[in-house]
């Protein structure tokens, strides 16, 4: 049942020009960033050759590319997730799901996986860029995999927050604005701790960026993964509660 809902969600996304234009614009920008990182690598190459244990392509091209990709995705996630539930509410199609033999959990998880598969397609296309370097050079695949895992977790958390925000309102634009606000806040929340010693306060711990950076460096820390998984479960749980509450509206 979850798969049915997810498949329809993904299909509806691709039936509107929105998904295609988001894919096109995002990939164009990421490709530009990718090429400029390669450019930087080529200029650095002579000096790197002289160094012992110099950073490789994965450090100089892939890590900055993925770091920038997370910021780009932060900007576009709200646009993809905004209509997930709010549009159903607005078009009164939610009652189709409510009167069908499916639970609220199946609805929310189905919708979430539908959106997430869109992002996985996007990330799959993005992954092809660094992989194409394999044709001409060696690549630290472990670092690439860690970075990719980090990016997937970040986007999965973004999408969960977006789905929740979309469950709160009938207006897709309101959902987009609030999602963007919350994502940005969670991204930069550690700035408040800048005066103190690095990384030891609660706000820094909440920051999504802080948990993403180690993965980019190829450092797999289960605490970071758990952070993202918790975030996803939390916001999906909120969405289920929220959807249940529409039946109980006072």
């Amino acid at each position: 049942m979850v798969a049915t809902i997810a498949a329809r969600e993904l299909r509806s996304l691709f039936l509107s020009p929105l998904a295609w234009s988001i894919l096109a614009v995002t990939l164009f920008i990421l490709a530009y960033l990718f090429l400029s990182q390669i450019e930087a690598y080529i200029t650095l190459q002579p000096r790197l050759a002289a160094l012992d244990g110099a950073p490789g392509v994965a450090d100089i091209v892939v890590a900055p590319l993925f770091a920038d990709a997370a910021v780009v995705l932060l900007l576009i996630t709200p646009l993809v997730t905004m209509r997930v539930l709010s549009e159903e509410r607005r078009n009164r199609t939610l009652s189709l799901l409510f009167s069908a033999p499916v639970t609220m959990t199946e609805i929310v998880v189905g919708k979430y996986l539908g959106v997430l598969s869109f992002f996985l397609i996007l990330l799959g296309l993005l992954a092809l860029m660094p992989l194409s370097l394999l044709a001409g050079t060696e690549l630290d695949l472990g670092k690439l995999a860690a970075g990719m895992l980090g990016l997937i977790l970040v986007v999965a958390a973004f999408a969960a927050i977006g789905v929740y925000m979309s469950s709160l309102t009938e207006q897709p634009t309101v959902a987009a604005v609030t999602t963007f606000g919350l994502l940005l806040l969670l991204w930069i929340i550690d700035w408040a701790g800048n005066g103190q010693l690095d990384g030891d306060n609660a706000l820094a711990y909440l920051s999504m960026l802080r948990h993403y950076e180690p993965l980019l460096k190829g450092l797999f820390n289960s605490a970071d993964v758990a952070y993202y998984l918790l975030l996803i479960v939390l916001f999906l749980g909120f969405s289920i509660r929220r959807l249940d509450a529409t039946r109980l509206q006072p």
Partner: protein, 315 residues
């Protein structure tokens, strides 16, 4: 709890903050019944239907669908329900076929049977030749039919239709009514409407809801009895005076109406025949003789208007 009742509703109550939308509504629906739900706007028709279909949680009361408690086992109970809300819940970006396929999957129809179910539902609702068109491009009437097709695709025991004929042209209305009558043979149907002749045409039971309470519940046959007003309207070209009319056997009371016609009230025997005979023998030149019937409208208005002050006192 009776097992044969498809829908069994007990003391259903729902508040919206302090306003009581539905108050202590109880009724049963058996297989083969078409129940018409009447009421003015805001009477609580839609709220009741939303509660029966699990779209709205009741504050109190019990709902059983085919013997399964909706609140305890929503998944099993909902398999027995097909619901068409006021606005057909269609996705405009899908084609009719895609949409119905999706609905069939949602209602857990086994994969092998889906194609057959979609075809049957399309045939029944006259959607045969629009299967490949986008729902968003269809007219309101066709969207409504897609909504009905969605409600019956999984062959549910109970079909609940909220104003199914709104926005349809007269021919489509006739087709939909015929469809409802046909569905009524094997399913239990609840339909809400404020088009009163529709109830007379399609339903075999009527309930009128007003300010959240059931104020009238009867079979259509019983209602027909209520509709007989025990009076005749007659007109003569050579009108006699009222007194001589009263002498005709069976006439209790006669009154002159403003347009020259006369209304004759009777209690037991219908004086129509006697009047015609009297007219011939006394040269009254009868030119019109019609039994007067109250319309459902009148009952509806009597019930819903006269009750208003009472209800407000109670509230």
């Amino acid at each position: 709890m009776s097992n044969q009742a498809l829908v069994h509703i007990e003391h259903l109550t729902r508040y919206y903050s302090l306003t009581c939308a539905v108050s202590d509504v109880s009724f049963d629906l058996a297989k083969g019944e078409v129940l018409g739900f009447l009421g003015p706007n805001g009477a609580g028709k839609s709220s009741t239907m939303q509660m029966i279909t699990g779209n709205l949680a009741p504050n109190a009361g019990q709902i059983c669908i085919a013997g399964i408690d909706l609140l305890d086992q929503p998944k099993r109970a909902k398999q027995q329900i097909g619901y068409l809300p006021e606005q057909p819940p269609v996705y405009r970006e899908l084609t009719v076929d895609e949409y119905l396929y999706y609905c069939a999957r949602l209602n857990r129809i086994p994969r092998g049977n889906i194609a057959a179910a979609v075809t049957t539902a399309k045939d029944r609702c006259g959607l045969g030749d629009v299967g490949r068109r986008l729902i968003g491009n269809l007219s309101k009437g066709y969207q409504q039919r897609v909504g009905i097709a969605q409600a019956i695709i999984h062959n549910p025991a109970v079909v609940i239709l909220d104003e199914p004929t709104v926005g349809l042209d007269p021919i489509q209305i006739r087709e939909i009514r015929a469809l409802i009558c046909e569905l009524g043979k094997e399913h239990g149907i609840i339909l809400s409407t404020h088009i009163l002749p529709e109830v007379q045409a399609t339903c075999n039971r009527v309930q009128i809801i007003h300010h959240g309470k059931l104020v009238f519940a009867d079979s259509t046959a019983g209602m027909e009895q209520q509709l007989n007003a025990n009076s005749l309207i007659v007109a003569f070209n050579n009108a006699p005076d009222i007194d001589s009319l009263l002498q005709v056997s069976g006439v209790d009371h006669a009154e002159q109406l403003a347009d020259g016609r006369i209304r004759i009230h009777y209690s037991d025997t219908d004086p129509a025949e006697a009047l015609a005979e009297a007219s011939v023998s006394r040269h009254w030149r009868l030119c019109e003789l019609a039994p007067e019937r109250r319309t459902l409208e009148q009952i509806f208005i009597e019930l819903t208007c006269s009750e208003t002050p009472l209800r407000e006192d109670a509230a």
